[in-house]
């Protein structure tokens, strides 16, 4: 959703996504600060490591809620199509990159970037999807 959402569900999506991203930044800061200053050990290492991932999973739930709540079938269709581009693009690039890592000594990239690629492809595809219906 690149511009101001046209529907109530779209606005709720934006209002939910913004605090989710703020919580992500907070949890990321907490995790980084803790690993840097407190040098945790044991179970707490796993808890702190997973902490920033929780709001990111939450952001996917926010997308799911939007799909469930959006009564405008055209807007819902555009978002679902853009999600398919997001999933497809992220999987395609990460698959290609993993083979480049295996066979062409490409530098290792964190699996976290699959999530980033999903959103990039999703955002880029939306205007093109909308253009098809004009």
């Amino acid at each position: 959703m690149l511009c101001y959402p046209a529907t109530k569900a779209g606005r709720r999506y934006t209002y939910r996504l913004a605090p989710t991203m703020a919580v992500y930044l907070l949890f990321l800061f907490i995790a980084q600060w803790s690993f840097h200053h407190l040098h945790p050990t044991g179970l707490i290492v796993y808890v702190l490591a997973v902490l920033p991932a929780l709001p990111l999973i939450g952001s996917l739930v926010v997308v799911g809620l939007y799909i469930a709540e959006e009564s405008d079938e055209f807007e819902r269709s555009v978002l679902i199509q853009s999600m398919l581009w997001g999933f497809g693009g992220a999987l395609a690039i990460s698959t290609i990159w993993s083979f480049l890592e295996d066979f062409a000594q490409a530098p290792h990239i964190s699996a976290f970037y699959v999530y980033v690629l999903f959103w990039i492809f999703m955002a880029i595809s939306q205007p093109f999807i909308r253009r098809r219906y004009q």
Partner: protein, 65 residues
């Protein structure tokens, strides 16, 4: 799917935004349906029929016929 939405709208002097408000959808949705590039679901088609007080088959044309 071809339709007479533009004509029906013009008869009532409604803009796409006016129709979108009445249907509780976005203006882009109305545009996509009007250009025949997005087929509405049955509930939305019935809503349009009620709004224009016309049967569905007089608003939409099945191009396969």
């Amino acid at each position: 799917m071809k339709n007479r939405l533009r004509i029906l709208r013009a008869e009532r002097d409604w803009s796409q935004a006016d129709l979108a408000d009445r249907l509780e959808v976005s203006r882009q949705s109305v545009n996509a349906i009007e250009t025949g590039k997005f087929d509405p679901s049955l509930p939305l088609a019935f809503k349009l029929a009620r709004l224009f007080n016309s049967p569905i088959e007089s608003i939409f044309t099945d191009e396969t016929e």
